[in-house]
């Protein structure tokens, strides 16, 4: 968090209403998001209790485990969940487009991808656990489960893994996305309470948000008071209706909140790079669908040495790109870098569009631009710069003096003798330059998993899911 966000929080606290910290939306919003609110049985790792889900805000599906300690009922619940989620996912694998690639074969990419929206980080973590507890099950053998359950597990695992992937919108946690766009007047710890955060954004703070009687927790844990006073007697009574009704009261308020959160985000204009990231999401989704179709084994319990290094490299790359893209897409994010002196913005006061360097054939067009800025620039001479106004261009900081910064454009000027119209900023134009650039070095290849070196334990023993996986009781 930066001082800019802190200031926004202070302002929110003072004015009694959350303050924007973004001017555009940085996540993709699907036309048909699948809202998913899972609840679990307290004290258990991944014992599902209920879920409310669906793509239509007026028609939520409520799935309930009437006797949460009954293993068969839990798997029946998982099968029901699969019955809702899998058709939603599978329908999206049908329409694809062919993508051409440099130095590689073209591939098929889905034109749209699924999007799972959960209330909070807890929802993401629980989705991961549900995925872990179902993907190794078997439809045959000593502890059979419905055939759709292991497939569901693989998709839930996929969703949860994408949620950890920087910039991905395949799975969103409402509190996280809201927090990226608004600063409330409470701590980030308290922002994890969806009801509290939403009330800061919409109406102003309310103590009711912390009252489980008014706003039940958004899950996956339920309110202990509810467990003791309502749920336990309902389960004891053996009446499935009573359990379902009890759980409905805990889920419905959150259901409305999540849709309201989606509306809030949808009202923001989409950031310029969002479509590009969604494209990667779609590619990843198609990759996963192909994986499933080819009958590849379920995701491993934990990454092997090579898989871990590969994932880390991908995630670091994605994180760096995401940070840069958000700054380029959104002046409010860029302002954070301006505040720390890693970027500056201002008015162009002088240009030399004809400036060249070198002689003869190697003579190159290197226009100079002088920017007047109020920002505290802390960039040394020679720093490579980029600019959101002309994303293809690269520049170098030549001199900085008393709020006047001279910049030399070094990249993206083409081969012409003179600058193409519009390629050099005009005097009077507002521009922004930053040392934040997206020229990430590709990482070198990794060995094949079978060639894992001795320093990392040597080649892994081949992993084949065995009966042990299928047997693990759901206690």
């Amino acid at each position: 968090m930066s001082l800019l966000t802190s200031l926004a929080r202070l302002r929110a606290l003072d004015e009694g209403i959350a303050q924007p910290v973004a001017t555009v939306r940085h996540c993709h919003l699907s036309r048909r998001p699948m809202v998913f609110i899972p609840l679990k049985l307290s004290g258990e790792a991944a014992a599902p209790l209920a879920a409310m889900l669906g793509t239509d805000r007026d028609d939520p599906r409520l799935l309930v485990v009437a006797q949460p300690r009954n293993r068969d009922l839990r798997f029946a619940w998982a099968a029901e969940l699969a019955g809702v989620l899998l058709p939603y996912v599978e329908a999206l694998t049908v329409d694809t487009e062919t993508v051409e690639r440099k130095n590689a074969d073209p591939y098929e990419r889905a034109v749209d991808a699924p999007q799972l929206v959960v209330p909070n980080q807890g929802g993401v973590a629980f989705t991961a656990l549900l995925g872990r507890s179902t993907r190794f099950r078997r439809a045959d053998g000593p502890y059979p489960v419905p055939g759709s359950v292991p497939l569901l597990g693989r998709w839930l695992t996929y969703f949860a893994e994408r949620a950890a992937y920087p910039g991905s919108s395949i799975m969103l946690a409402a509190t996280e996305e809201l927090g990226r766009h608004w600063a409330s007047g409470q701590s980030s710890l308290e922002d994890a309470n969806l009801a509290a955060l939403m009330s800061w954004i919409t109406t102003g703070p309310s103590d009711e948000a912390e009252d489980p009687l008014v706003w039940p927790p958004a899950g996956p844990a339920t309110d202990p008071g509810f467990d003791a006073e309502v749920l336990a007697p309902a389960i004891e009574s053996g009446s499935a209706e009573r359990v379902a009704e009890a759980l409905r009261t805990q889920l419905e308020p959150t259901w409305r909140l999540v849709w309201q959160a989606i509306d809030l985000l949808a009202a923001l204009p989409e950031g310029a790079s969002v479509a590009q990231r969604w494209e990667q999401d779609r590619g990843s989704f198609s990759g996963m669908a192909a994986h499933v179709a080819e009958g590849a084994p379920p995701q491993a319990r934990r990454d092997g040495a090579v898989a871990a290094a590969a994932r880390l490299a991908r995630m670091e790359r994605a994180q760096a790109a995401y940070d840069v893209q958000r700054a380029y897409d959104d002046p409010m994010v860029m302002a954070e870098y301006r505040l720390t002196g890693e970027a500056f913005a201002g008015e162009v006061v002088e240009t030399d569009p004809e400036n060249t360097e070198g002689e003869g054939r190697s003579r190159k067009l290197r226009p100079l631009v002088v920017v007047k800025t109020d920002d505290p620039v802390r960039l040394p001479q020679g720093t490579s710069l980029g600019t959101p106004q002309r994303r293809g261009q690269g520049a170098v900081l030549v001199a900085a003096d008393e709020g006047l910064i001279t910049v030399k454009i070094t990249k993206g000027m083409g081969r012409g003798k003179t600058a193409a119209p519009g390629s050099v900023p005009e005097v009077g134009e507002r521009v922004c330059y930053t040392s934040l650039t997206d020229d990430f070095q590709g990482s070198a290849t990794l060995p094949e998993a079978e060639a894992t070196p001795w320093t990392h334990g040597g080649p892994p023993r081949g992993y084949t899911p065995d009966d042990e996986d299928a047997q693990e009781e759901w206690s």
Partner: protein, 425 residues
Amino acid sequence: MTDSPEQVIQNVLADLPRHRGVVVDSPPGAGKSTLVVRAAAHIAATGEPLMIVAQTNEQVDDLVVRISDKHPHLRVGRLSAGGYTPPPRLLELAGVRVATRVQDLNDPDIVIATADKWAWISERVWPWAIVDEAYQMRSDKLLRIAGLFERALFVGDPGQLDPFSIVDGDRWSGLSWDPLQSAVSVLLRHNPDLPVHRLPVSWRLPASAAPVVSQAFYPFTGFRSGTGPGDRRLELTTGGMGTVHDRALEEAARSGWALLELPNRHTVRTDGEAVQAVAMLAERLLQRGAVASSEQGERPVTADRIAVGAAHRDQVAAIRAAGLPPEITVDTANRLQGREYDVTIVLHPLSGRRDATAFHLESGRLCVLASRHRHACVVVARAGIAELLDAHPSAEPVQLGVPVKFPDGWEANQAVLEHLARHRV
């Protein structure tokens, strides 16, 4: 008590053919580079090719120069990435060849490159490798290059900063091959029987600093200084004016340490008063014509022999902007790792803070800052760090299967602070 440095080096060299990997822990200034050069020559003498891995281009160039200096008959290949321009001092060396591809190096005795560059090399296996700064190397980098060698010597300082990532690595914690762990941790978890040697003597740190640094940051292994009390002297040739800055310098010249304490106040990170104090100390140090005498002779403490260290980049920027001579190194702890100066001036990571975070308390950070000097270290800090440590909530999460790291940042900070209090002005 412990083996002599020479005996340790002998033991290391003797172990090399006996084990697939040998680890040497080297506290600050314990002659790590000397060891690398010795081992390189030792291996080259067998006639078998050797690859050396370092972490930064500067470290690579440094090693090339050192090896070439000491063993001019050895042919050294300096492998580099495309955009690299070799410094002139490298080009002057007769046996050294620089190229971007292995085949252009003309099969030298030794090939040296950064870990990043090595990761792009394939289809050849060296019988020997030396990995330098192996504790600062992330294990995923080692994974990329470990296929290139059969046996390796890993050298590094376990007390400095751990590698890090911009992404959350919790999903790998507890794995023996956690990519965010250092190369040495992963190596030793998979090969617990490899010999680990320790260089026992710091040639850099003076007798005034070695015990402090050793106890605070190397509590279980320890090391001693190669020079005795009085072997190193720092003299200020011009008189002082009695200001706090002058008195701090005098205390540092006398005892090897000084704590310039500013009034207790919570400040922004780029605390102007503290930045000014740091700049003033550096300026006065130059003005007062400090002269350092040691086993290496007597020499003036020129700007290039002074470093200023801080925790954060914005602090570094603020200090640079305060108008220091450009020859003085100003940098973060991260980037000061492995470097050596006569005098260091340190802005204490906890100065002016109200709450300490894990970042501030990381023992490696303070260790780097407190162990770069041959003669003296002056620390600038606001009063109140003791209270801050006292009030620090201890609720760090615990990951299963991850060995506990020592020293604890809190304890190390406390130990250093207690020592500094005796040199307060």
